[in-house]
Symmetry: C2
Subunit: 279 residues, 2 copies
């Protein structure tokens, strides 16, 4: 049972904040939505990045105006379980709370709650159908940074569930960057072979594909691009090598912030709208 916490009329629709008991995380989970008043033609799942919650996208991206015009819903899940006290869970901003990396964890303690891949791919996916009457073939996915990578792995592992896949500034090859190595070791243990199942570049390498072109926007002045945390070049080269169509837009002068997302969200929404609007 999902419960409405807050509701704000926004353009021709409603921004809403929800809460429910998750069977995968075994915690209360929050998410936000925007729903146009008119008949909804599909839903975009938005996955936020490190330190974010269900609130960042819905307050900062300026998406509602475009979603209302396109008759698209968005749902923004939280980025991890909350209210727990697992080992090291709250010690750093790039691991534990706010930093799930959207994997199904196997390490002690985390295995019991950090089941964020199943939470999104199964539970949120079902909620869209049962609570929001979204047809199962009218769901797509996008996100930012850790969540941009999340969108890629959901799309590559479940191309039948997510009709279109895009990302802003994804952590594109987490097994090869410090953020990813720290998180994947913490959630999955030290076996690198296990990590590759949760890495978009490695998923492509092992044969996963999405039937539609992937879309990525990346800021050219992104501090984490320069810091070798994102490594989109690895994803782009691998996609080219294995013939996965991918449109990569390098946006000169833009950084890693929501100001960048706001500047290009219209293009990404139109990309999803075109796919979800088809019969």
């Amino acid at each position: 049972m999902i419960q409405l916490r807050k509701r704000h009329k926004t353009f021709a629709g409603y921004t809403e904040f929800w809460e429910h008991d998750s069977k995968f995380t075994k915690t209360k989970m929050k998410f936000s939505t925007f729903r146009p008043e008119a008949e909804i033609k599909g839903c975009l799942i938005w996955l936020s990045g490190l330190t974010c919650t269900d609130e960042n996208f819905i307050t900062k991206a300026g998406a509602q105006k475009i979603l209302a015009r396109e008759n698209l819903m968005v749902i923004c899940p939280d980025t991890s379980p909350r209210g727990l006290s697992l080992p090291n869970e709250h010690d750093s901003w790039d691991f534990g709370s706010g930093a799930s990396f959207y994997v199904d964890a196997t390490t002690p303690g985390y295995a019991d709650h950090y089941q964020m891949f199943s939470y999104i791919a199964d539970e949120i996916f079902e909620i869209l159908s049962t609570d929001f009457q979204i047809a199962k073939h009218k769901i797509s996915i996008s996100g930012h940074s850790m969540g941009g990578h999340g969108a890629l792995i959901f799309g590559l592992r479940h191309p039948e569930r997510f009709q279109a896949v895009s990302a802003f500034s994804p952590i594109a090859n987490p097994i090869s960057c410090p953020w990813g190595q720290k998180a994947l070791a913490g959630y999955l243990g030290d076996e690198v072979a296990e990590w590759t199942r949760w890495d978009a570049t490695e998923l492509l390498r092992s044969g996963h594909r999405h039937p539609r072109p992937l879309l990525i926007d990346q800021g050219g002045d992104d501090e984490f691009l320069k810091g070798l945390q994102l490594l989109p070049e690895n994803l782009v080269a691998t996609a080219r090598a294995c013939q996965q169509p991918l449109n990569f837009n390098l946006r000169e002068g833009f950084d890693h912030s929501y100001y960048f997302i706001a500047s290009f969200i219209e293009g990404q929404i139109l990309f999803h709208s075109e796919v979800l609007g088809k019969d």
Copy 2:
């Protein structure tokens, strides 16, 4: 000397965060700006409401896209001095820090720092000219709630400096509502006659006018409208009685939040753009 703290490319322009030593508040003050890359035709001053800072509007209103298209700058000052420890300054969210009401205070302690009217009307006004090369006849003002009322009193007291005046959900008659009574007593003492100089409805009553029509957007489901904190009906009736043109838009279903502001900011920016674009 203003100092740049952060800068983010946003649409065809830059969102920037600044800091400077104010001669009026005798503290460091922060403000944010958005400046289009193209030639700028004028600047809107945005005054935020209770509890806000220089960040709320620039992160949540979705204004940059429209400002970039209209070649308008916006500057968003903070809502009070910071870093002080005046009597009761941090005890409640509707008085003291984050709640200046944009008056020049006269009470002990506050008189030394809470000179927010002069800070905006003189110091920010000058900074626009000297640091940002905005012509003095190309400046207008808007705001939300406490800041919406601020915009009205700046416009009515200095119609020659602020070419156009608009507001979202202003606290339209503060001497008659609990928020205003508490704040005005705290900043100005118990003499109600003194309060009337800082109340938009009373300024109209005492003969102040603006040469252009005022523009107000008000949500019909605003909890503070129902709570009798805003009292736009007093302002509207007084404006009608004294023939100050005022366009009042009641927006059914909308509340007091930034979701409401985001939904109607385009109309207000176009109102300012039309005035500031004239020779």
